[in-house]
Amino acid sequence: MTEYLLQIEDLHTCFQTRNGIVHVLRGLSLNVPRGQVVGIVGESGSGKTVTALSIMRLIRPPGRILSGRILFQGTDLLRLSEQQMERVRGRQIAMIFQQPRESLNPVLTVETQIRLVLRQHLGLDGHAALTRARHLLRQVELPDVDRLLRAYPHELSGGMCQRVMIALCLACSPKLLIADEATTALDVTVQLQILRLLRQLREELGLTLVVITHNLGVVAELCQWVAVMYAGELVEFAPAEQFFRAPFHPYAARLLACRPAISLEDDLPVIPGVVPDLLTRPSGCPFHPRCHRARPRCRLEHPSLEERLPGHEVRCFFPEEVPAWTPSLR
């Protein structure tokens, strides 16, 4: 029996906008096994960031979590008081964001920022805090630790800021680390270093990672499980290798196929149309207007998540039967 660190059950999150209530997440369910890396893949409007914020209970008005359970080590986070949640946030579950420099306080040195976290969650101060701070910065492979402690965020490169961010997240030895597009704003060489660091930290510290990204390459590098989101729903969930070999959902298959590579003649396969506005979701399966395999049933009924292979679930009436794209071409 797999042990799950995080279990999201039937999560409903909505936002009040001037045009009405937008139901961003409608019954999202996702399980994250302990010590593993789950990648949540989606494009804009898929609801992946809202999912991360819901887990951290950082959804503020005009957003609201309507219903559902988020079980972290058996405790439902949605039932905790704000005070109790504050002890979870940063301590048990930590999050890295997309723009590293903007996530750090520009007027505080690195040392001050680490100390603040250590004091708040671990009650560490003085020399003990400094030792831990040094240890953390070394753990994220930052050079010249003492000089770095005295630096301000604007003096550091994007990659270094992101590593400081990771150090801050690790300060209290959390069990779960959520990375929301953590490498999207970074150069590809820097991204490689951060991905390797995350992989290493997972192995050394037994961290569980939830990696949110639109970049399938990042998923291939880092994740053992892939969850594909579309229009606020989970449409496919599979072990990474299986997913890349033979995705079931037409959207996932097309997503894998439309990545450019050296091919000077043919046009790229495309997904026609645009991601649906969450206010006016299509009826039935949300992907049907753009789906090359859609049939009348797809417009009328909403498919539920079904397990087609062990560990491989898909939400589709007519999933791909053979691998819809061939990895060998790339």
Binding site: G217, V218, E241, P260, I262, L264, V270, I271, V274
Partner: protein
């Protein structure tokens, strides 16, 4: 194939004050030369700090080059006064990276596309409006979009408007500065197909700037690799990516995330942190991070030398065949 655009020795430097009485010279672009032929796409690859965006802007004289010559159809446009330059602007257009930012939020998109037509006297009144609708349809939008404001369109649609605007003056040369970096993968595929179709249909020449190697490899027949403002390698796309001759190109290629979880890729880890254009080393700009650098590399600036019939590389060790790619020197 005749040369549409010839760039020689283009440089752009900024004077940055580093505190009291200290002035640094930031060489964003340093002695860049290349040619773009009629109907061709030249790819420009680089990470942040490579100067690729500055290069694009200098070509169109949106920023004034500090040194060097840019010739369009044999006419030197570098020194031209504003009044002579403006009529030439219709031939050289640009599509920017962030579509939302490149459109005036207070102008309907139709007006934005109409403007160049009126400015260059290409049509007036009803004929001009008809041309706007034609352009919209050319880029895959429809007449109903003409009266919309940018914020009412999706990112992909906004970028299509930007392309329509660039094409409104019937240019022959279009600089595409990371046109799809801000877009989702599926939208990117649509837009790349569109750009290629437009090129075939209208006989356009492109300068395609990107940090994304797979996108560049798909779009461009020839590629120029930039590092800290200098060209380090140039050649046909396929040859360059199959067998890169410059250590930086190799490093860049190796850093691209894998396509699948089971892909084994040999990773080259550059030493140290990404360099800043403010602190450029004396010799080869990549030498502080290059795994194969020796003393001579640190001291002697490298010029582009031919290697093969239509390739150039700025690395003496590579040209002399002294590098064993699988064995970085300690």
């Amino acid at each position: 194939m005749d040369a549409l655009l010839e760039v020689s020795g283009l440089s752009k430097h900024y004077i940055v004050s580093g505190g009291l009485l200290r002035r640094h010279i930031l060489r964003a672009v340093d002695g860049v030369s290349f040619t773009v032929s009629s109907g061709e796409t030249l790819g420009v690859v680089g990470e942040s700090g490579s100067g690729k965006s500055t290069l694009g802007r200098c070509l169109l004289r949106l920023e004034e080059p500090s040194e060097g010559v840019v010739k369009y159809r044999g006419i030197d446009i570098t020194g031209l006064p504003d009044s002579s330059l403006r009529p030439l602007r219709r031939h050289l257009q640009m599509v920017f990276q962030d579509p939302a930012d490149s459109l005036n939020p207070r102008m309907t998109v139709g007006t934005a596309v109409l403007e160049p037509i009126l400015l260059h006297g290409l049509a007036r009144g009803v004929a001009a409006r008809r041309r706007v609708i034609e352009l919209f349809e050319l880029v895959g939008l429809s007449e109903e979009h003409v009266a919309r404001y940018p914020h009412q369109l999706s990112g992909g649609q906004q970028q299509r408007v930007a392309i329509a605007r660039a094409l409104a003056s019937n240019p022959q040369f279009v600089v595409l500065d990371e046109p799809t970096s801000a877009l989702d993968v599926s939208v990117q595929a649509q837009l790349l197909n569109l750009l290629r179709a437009l090129q075939r249909r209208l006989g356009l020449s492109y300068l395609f700037i990107s940090h994304d190697l797979s996108v560049v490899s798909y779009m461009a027949r020839r590629v120029v690799v930039l590092y800290l403002g200098r060209v380090v390698e140039e050649g046909p796309t396929r040859a360059l990516f199959d067998d890169p001759k410059h250590p930086y190109t190799r490093t860049l290629l190796s850093a691209v995330p894998a396509n699948t979880p089971w892909e084994q890729r040999h990773r080259i880890i550059p030493r140290g942190e990404p360099a800043s254009p403010l602190a450029r080393p004396a010799g080869c700009p990549f030498s502080p991070r290059c795994p194969w650098a020796v003393q001579r590399c640190h001291e002697e600036p490298q010029a582009l030398q031919p290697v093969g019939p239509d390739r150039q590389v700025a690395c003496w060790r590579s040209i002399e065949g002294k590098i064993v790619w699988t064995r970085p020197e300690a």
